[in-house]
């Protein structure tokens, strides 16, 4: 699975397979939506990126300035910091298919199936 994922991007970054995925989840306080998003994200990551990912939860209520830097409007927003390019996913990540497409994990998912 990891191999397939890296294989997809081989032309761009051959070493990406060794890279740790850095995912930032922007939330605004502990709302049902944000905890739901975190749970969904964790599930997907465990499934597809076991041991290779890092989730950072950013609470904008505590750090409002960060909203400007990352151009965050919607809450919750998931930003795939690494591997590049940066991708943004908005919503509570309940639509699994879309999350996989958004994170560029789709081909792997297909092969798993």
């Amino acid at each position: 699975m990891k191999n397939k994922a890296s294989g997809k991007k081989k032309s761009a970054e051959p070493d990406a397979s060794e890279e740790t995925w850095i995912l930032k989840l922007y939330i605004a306080g502990q709302t049902p939506k944000s905890s739901q998003a975190f749970d969904n994200l964790k599930k997907i990551c465990e499934e597809h990126l076991a041991g290779k990912y890092l989730i950072e939860v950013v609470d904008l209520l505590k750090n409002p300035k960060l909203a400007k830097g990352e151009q965050i409007l919607a809450i919750p927003t998931l930003v795939r910091q690494l591997p590049s390019p940066v991708r943004k996913l908005i919503g509570d990540l309940s639509n699994r298919e879309r999350v996989l497409v958004g994170l560029d994990l789709q081909p792997a998912a297909k092969i798993v199936k």
Partner: protein
């Protein structure tokens, strides 16, 4: 200031207003935009929404000490800064001093994947942070509708926008939200449903290749406002709206009179000239001397040390100066002293409203006491007569309000009735001078008369109007059995009259002399007769003396003889003889 005013009127109008600082807009809205409420500014692309919003913030920050947040969804902070820098807004220094905060919100659809339920809390947090960091009182969201193209779920977006506007209101932000015009709606996504306190519509329309910007207040909840479409202009110093149609007929009036610059014309108007602050219409066909009259009017004003503004739509300033020098009017010194200012422009360069605004702006800046518009009819080409008339009405109103004496020249086209102005503005003018061509004896001469002059006695005579090296002169025209004579016909008529007079004088002289000589002859005759008479008298005396002598001698002889004869009979015959002698003496 406005707030104080509002408080005074609190029982009548409790709506607080925040002045925009945009020229003219605060007059139409009666003080500005509703404080603490969102205002929707909508219009098509390029109508000036962003500029409106930016000026609202900048003026708020600089003039009313109300810091503002500009949240842009279309242009980056750098672009905005550069774009409005041309209008003299220095966003960098305002940002540095914490009076303005630019926040560029970037939404790229292709980078965003929607994966479920979400809200726009991020935007709220961001905005709140921006507001709190500078203590903002004003907020601009430009153009929030672009979120519709950036975020996929319109339903969520609508709900969130509604929440956003409510939230802004709760925070007490005076907000301007811009929106692109939709096909049949004010905004493409129906923002007017959410922002309903005040809606301002901007329009940029092109009629007959001329563009005009107009502003209309669609609604203003809880406040009266001007409902018309007001022209506005985007110029070097920002926006300005022209609420001229709201001006009533209540200009102050003075009785001061000012010279026309032509002494004879002054005397035609009761020796005093025009009223200060009146509007003078000067109409005439081509080449009748309209510009010359205007120039001498301007010259006279400058001579009094008053500021003057000359709007020329036909000639350039140097050309006017050169041409006027030929009739002895030198405008250049006034120009150098800064008393006179020319504004020359092709009428077709801008639309009517732009012209009007430019004139307003210049007059407001320069504050002239007198203005010449030469010719006002050139603006005719810029629109239909109704528009032109409306514009001129506004111009005249504006000038009167400011007590600016205005001379407007009106070019009457040949063949048209002389006493009709093309734009039917004669009724607006206080004084109407008519310059006309008089064609007699194979030459054209200029004439001038006062068709009307409100509130003063004025001559009803046509004067011949002469352009001399020393300026303008007015002469009496010859009105005789053969009609009105001017030019050389007048001169020859005058010569003829002079000749006839000389002849008459000579005749009288001759007659006088004849009479005198006859008188002398008669006197001589009288003298001769007198002499004759005297001579006759002398003879008579002599004769009488002689006779007396003879009588005496005779008496003596008789006495002698009587003595010689006898003395006793002497007394009787002597008295009898004396009586007839006396009688004969009387008879002579």
């Amino acid at each position: 200031m406005v707030r104080k005013k509002d408080k005074k009127k609190a029982f009548r109008m409790d709506l607080e207003k925040s002045p925009t600082g945009i020229q003219g807009l605060d007059e139409i809205t009666g003080g500005g935009l509703p404080t603490g409420r969102p205002t929707l500014v909508c219009g098509a692309a390029g109508c000036g929404k962003t500029l409106f919003a930016m000026e609202f913030l900048v003026r708020g920050a600089t003039q009313y000490n109300e810091p503002g947040v500009f949240m842009s969804f279309e242009e980056t902070a750098e672009e905005l800064t550069k774009n409005v820098g041309s209008l003299g807004f220095d966003l960098d220094s305002l940002s540095a001093s914490g009076k303005l905060l630019l926040d560029y919100v970037f939404v790229e659809r292709s980078e965003i994947e929607e994966t479920g339920e979400y809200d726009l809390e991020g935007l709220f947090i961001r905005l709140e942070d921006a507001i709190d960091s500078i203590g903002a009182k004003r907020v601009v969201l430009d153009t929030i509708e672009s979120l519709f193209s950036g975020l996929p779920n319109a339903l969520i977006l609508r709900a969130e926008l509604r929440r956003l506007f409510r939230w802004l209101k709760k925070k007490g932000m005076t907000a301007v939200i811009t929106g692109e015009k939709g096909e049949n709606t004010l905004t493409r996504h129906g923002l007017e449903e959410y922002v309903s306190d005040c809606v301002i519509f901007l329009d940029h329309r092109v009629t007959e290749q001329l563009s005009t910007r107009r502003l209309r207040i669609v609604k203003y909840r809880g406040s009266t406002h001007g409902t018309n479409e007001y022209p506005f202009l985007i110029e070097e110093k920002g926006m300005s709206v022209l609420p001229v149609t709201s001006i009533g007929l209540n200009h102050a009036v003075v009785t001061e009179r000012i010279s026309t610059g032509i002494p004879r014309l002054d005397s035609m108007m009761g020796e005093k000239g025009f009223f200060r602050g009146s509007s003078i219409l000067l109409s005439g066909t081509a080449g009748t001397g309209k510009t010359s009259v205007s120039a001498s009017f301007v010259d006279a004003a400058c001579r009094r040390g008053e500021r003057c503004m000359y709007f020329a739509f036909e000639e350039s300033a140097p050309q006017i100066i050169r041409n006027m020098r030929s009739i002895g009017i030198d405008l250049e010194p006034w120009l150098e002293k800064g008393l006179l200012k020319f504004h020359t422009e092709r009428p077709t360069g801008y639309g009517l409203e732009t012209h009007l605004l430019t004139m307003h702006k210049l007059i407001n800046e320069f504050k002239p006491a007198a203005v010449a518009v030469d010719p006002v009819t050139n603006l005719m080409s810029l629109g239909n007569p109704l528009d032109v008339k409306a514009m001129l009405t506004r111009l005249i109103d504006f000038l009167k309000m400011n007590q600016v004496t205005a001379m407007l020249t009106n070019l009457t086209s040949g063949g048209a009735a002389l006493e009709a102005t093309d734009v039917a503005i004669s009724s607006l003018a206080d004084t109407w001078l008519l310059l006309l061509d008089i064609e007699i004896g194979g030459e054209r001469n200029r004439g001038l008369y006062i068709l009307k002059s409100r509130g003063m006695a004025h001559s009803n005579q046509i004067r011949e109007f002469l352009l001399t090296d020393l300026g303008i002169d007015l002469l009496d025209v010859y009105v005789g059995p053969s009609g009105v004579l001017t030019g050389s016909a007048r001169v020859s008529q005058e010569l003829q009259e002079k000749g006839a007079e000389i002849a008459r004088e000579e005749e009288i002289e001759l007659k006088k002399r004849g009479l005198e000589s006859r008188q002398k002859a008669l006197e001589a005759q009288i003298a001769a007769l007198q002499a004759e008479l005297e001579a006759g008298n002398g003879d008579l005396k002599k004769m009488m003396n002689h006779e007396n002598e003879r009588q005496r001698r005779l008496d003596e002889e008789r006495e002698e003889m009587g003595r010689m004869r006898s003395a006793d009979s002497l007394s009787v015959p002597e008295s009898a003889r004396k009586k007839p002698r006396r009688k004969s003496g009387k008879g002579v």
